[in-house]
């Protein structure tokens, strides 16, 4: 049974630092918010994080397996928005099957059943393929089965690798480390793209971001990964770990952002409602972690195999 992280000075310091920085930056943007659309967007983003960051720290600081429960709920809320976007949220059997499968993933993580976890997408596909038979209906079933599997794979299987990272030695700090790097990277990339660079590699998917700003962001994210390496467990403070974390947060995050942007553009929608008081919806806050979490988890395993530091052990 894990104790609450609030007992640890490092956790309290990190929470205070992150919320403090958000608050100070927020004050600045509060006064600048009506200057132009960029400052409006920045203020909206900070507002959403002023709400999301304390919630995240409270959830991560819960004792025992409660952070895993919180991750499962976040995953369910992400699935809900994803299904609303794709217009299958009213197909109750598919939605409830996904929720049950997400709980199954959490149970697999809790019991360290990695093989079962990795088999889950196949088991899930088999289960939802039965729905047309159970309902004696074939209408749009290819569509529903495919979209449900997509939702489960992205917001269940992939995102819930955060649960596996959490289970590692110093896992909670690894998760916080990744979230901080990924979010700072996202906001930096967007902000810098307004001022520098012109090469838009994915102009039809993400026209607000460019290559030059992306490269500067990569360097800055790696620098931040180095600066925050005290959040990593002691045996993971070598350059290979923080360098990997920085690169995965920048590139993996961009990949998640691009893929979800492509889906939104194909659907012709921006978001399905404001996330509490900020911009976009909850999925926009989570989309980068969909790819960052599994890539970083497997990168850690590869590094462990290469360097034998004992990092990827409980």
């Amino acid at each position: 049974m894990h104790e609450s992280l609030w007992h640890e000075p490092l956790y309290r310091e990190t929470a205070l630092l992150v919320i403090g920085v958000l608050f100070v930056v927020g004050i600045g943007f509060f006064f600048l918010r009506n200057r132009n659309t960029h400052t409006q967007a920045s203020w909206a983003s900070i507002k959403s994080w002023l709400f999301a960051a304390p919630v995240m720290f409270i959830a991560c600081g819960l004792p025992g397996s409660w952070p895993l429960v919180a991750l499962t709920i976040a995953s369910m809320l992400g699935v809900k928005i994803f299904y609303q976007m794709l217009g299958i949220y009213h197909r109750s059997l598919f939605v409830w099957s996904t929720y049950v499968a997400l709980i199954g993933l959490a149970v697999a993580i809790h019991h360290d059943a990695r093989d079962l976890y990795n088999l889950a997408p196949m088991i899930f596909l088999a289960a939802i393929s039965l729905i047309p038979i159970l309902t004696n209906s074939a209408d749009q079933m290819i569509q529903f089965v495919c979209l449900t599997l997509l939702g489960f794979s992205f917001l269940g299987w992939a995102l819930m690798h955060l649960g596996w990272i959490w289970q590692l030695r110093g896992g909670p700090y690894l998760v916080l480390y990744l979230v901080i790097l990924t979010e700072v990277c996202d906001n930096l990339h967007l902000s810098l793209s307004r001022h520098v660079g012109s090469i838009k590699l994915f102009a039809r998917i993400s026209p607000k971001r460019n290559l030059e700003a992306g490269l500067i962001t990569l360097v800055l994210t790696i620098t931040l990964a180095w600066a925050l390496r005290h959040l990593l467990p002691e045996n993971m403070r070598g350059f290979e770990y923080w360098l990997t974390a920085g690169m995965v947060s920048a590139w993996g995050g961009s990949l998640g952002d691009l893929i979800l942007s492509a889906i939104r553009r194909d659907l012709g929608i921006k978001d399905v409602g404001p996330f509490i008081i900020g911009r976009g919806d909850l999925l926009m806050i989570m989309d980068r972690m969909i790819f960052v979490a599994p890539i970083f988890y497997y990168a850690l395993r590869i590094l462990e195999a290469l360097f034998q530091t004992g990092a990827v052990t409980k």
Binding site: L86, Y89, H90
Partner: protein, 253 residues
Amino acid sequence: MNSSNNNPLQEWNYENAQWTRLPSHVKHLPLFTRHYDLVSLMFRTLWSLILKYGFFKFYIRLKVRGDFDEIYHNYPRLLVIANHASHLDAVSIAAAIPFRYWMDLYIAAAKDYFFSNPLFTFFSKHCLGAIPIDRKDKKGEAVELCLTLLNRLERIWLIIFPEGTRSKDGYIQQFKRGVSLFSEKTTTPLLFLYLEGNTDLWPKGRVFAKPGQLVLHIGPVHPPGPIELIYEHYREWVTRINPNAFKIEDEGV
């Protein structure tokens, strides 16, 4: 949606209008798609527990005279009308109705009060299933919203207060024509309810309700008709329960 000879697969039809086209304050209403939202279900369950086993049991003793079950089975679509004198009215009617019918229960609620801030909006959407009625709306969008729901849904109980606003003196006021319009245009019958004691417990102007007893009388189901007729029959029925519910000089509409 239509398949062609060159394309053996149907084009995918994303039925997402419910969540992508509607403004936030009406997204919970099944205007495009009928769905039961897990968040709504969770908060509504919690809210019903608080109301039924907390507030209306220990603080205000709610007594129900009549039976909703039989009416629910015989009338899947109803306009539930009642006298309106306090903020207790809508919640006490909801508390009196068995929870198993709650997902088909809607309340016409003033947009300027129930949707005035994010917290109230969340509560109104998820706990009350409120339909926002803009009292200053000249275009009739709120009317259209109610008509759409009444026409579209197979099961709907819409709580509406035909007086339009809370009574200042506790006497039942004249009915506005809206309720008759909804009823006639959608051929939806009306269920008469009468709340006895609401004015004493939480009159207009008081900050919060005081403890006491509230009685909800379940009346007859009335067919659609002109407002004068509805008012007259409602008045006859209520006067039998409480002869002082109406002002003496208040004759007809």
